[in-house]
Subunit: 158 residues, 2 copies
DNA sequence: GTTATATTGTTGCTCTTGCAACTACCAGGA
DNA sequence: TCCTGGTAGTTGCAAGAGCAACAATATAAC
């Protein structure tokens, strides 16, 4: 697993607890800020929409099963249903029946969805740089990417 | 500011972008898991309550102005008003008039609030270890604490 | 002292989310 | 084949959070 601590401790040591607290509140503060910045321009989509559209744009055929999408953006299935409702109503994606599974539904990115993605990216990127990336040196960036990626993958498992 | 990048870039480099994406989804996955674990036991308080109670327990006199508390837990003032309503209704804190400012209100931790904190900590600590701390070696823990602390402090400023 | 400006906390409203229950569908076993 | 268990997606419901607007109080300018 990981060196430097016994893996069956019941409490985090002070350094890891400080990391956890910084993690939680940094997330709230930074995401809140970026969200408000995006909300200031009616042409830009909110972060939750952006996450869904990005996941679709990176998927083969720009389409994904709803259950897959829910795992991808870390949302409950019911939450994802409503989110996809809103995106579909806005024309940024469309639902399509899954050919090989009668239960399934695919979300498919539309040209309007791609356009929304491209339109939102510059402001989003500025927010990431100004409130997050700007404060990291190269070593820290690598460590965060590796460590948080590992944590995310573990927490996403069933 | 920080070495290793020019500070006026409009987009994050790939490493920092990967760090950002891991940061966002790791938070959603880990906090969601811990929240569900706590919700499984009716004697434990949810994370938002825990954050408020901790902030109070660490403040001098175990009391804090509501505006200070809102900054501390990164919540809007209206959001904090309702949250404090719920905590007060549950008897975990009480409101008190601020002696030196007629506009102000203090939130004061009650014994029941301290008890809730102590009761919730073990399960919360287990969640932090199992889903977060367990995946960090000592170096990573130090880097996360420092870097995310810096990011949090910057994003909390007005 | 009076007036103008800013801050504190609360409320109305709306949006978003999760859980539990439900339907529709798939897969495996008798 | 039929039946049983499991999965996919949707819905009713309730809880939580933010914005804008408001009343009360404080602070500064004059």
């Amino acid at each position: 697993m990981v060196r430097g601590m016994s893996t069956d401790r019941l409490e985090p040591d002070p350094t890891r607890l400080a990391a956890w607290e910084a993690f939680v509140f940094a997330h709230a503060a930074v995401v809140g800020r970026i969200e408000r910045e995006l909300a200031g321009d009616p042409d830009l989509v909110p972060l939750a929409w952006y996450d869904v559209l990005t996941a679709l744009s990176e998927a083969p055929g720009e389409r994904l099963r709803l259950s897959e999408l829910a795992r991808e953006v870390v949302l409950s299935r019911s939450g994802l249903t409503r989110l996809v409702d809103r995106l579909e109503a806005a024309g940024l994606l469309r639902r399509e029946a899954c050919p090989d599974d009668g239960r399934g539904t695919l979300a498919v990115l539309t040209p309007a969805g791609e356009a929304a993605l491209r339109r939102t990216w510059p402001a989003y990127a500025r927010g990431i740089v100004a409130h997050f990336a700007r404060h990291l040196d190269d070593d820290e960036a690598r460590v965060l990417s590796a460590a948080l990626g590992r944590i995310r993958d573990a927490a996403r498992e069933p």
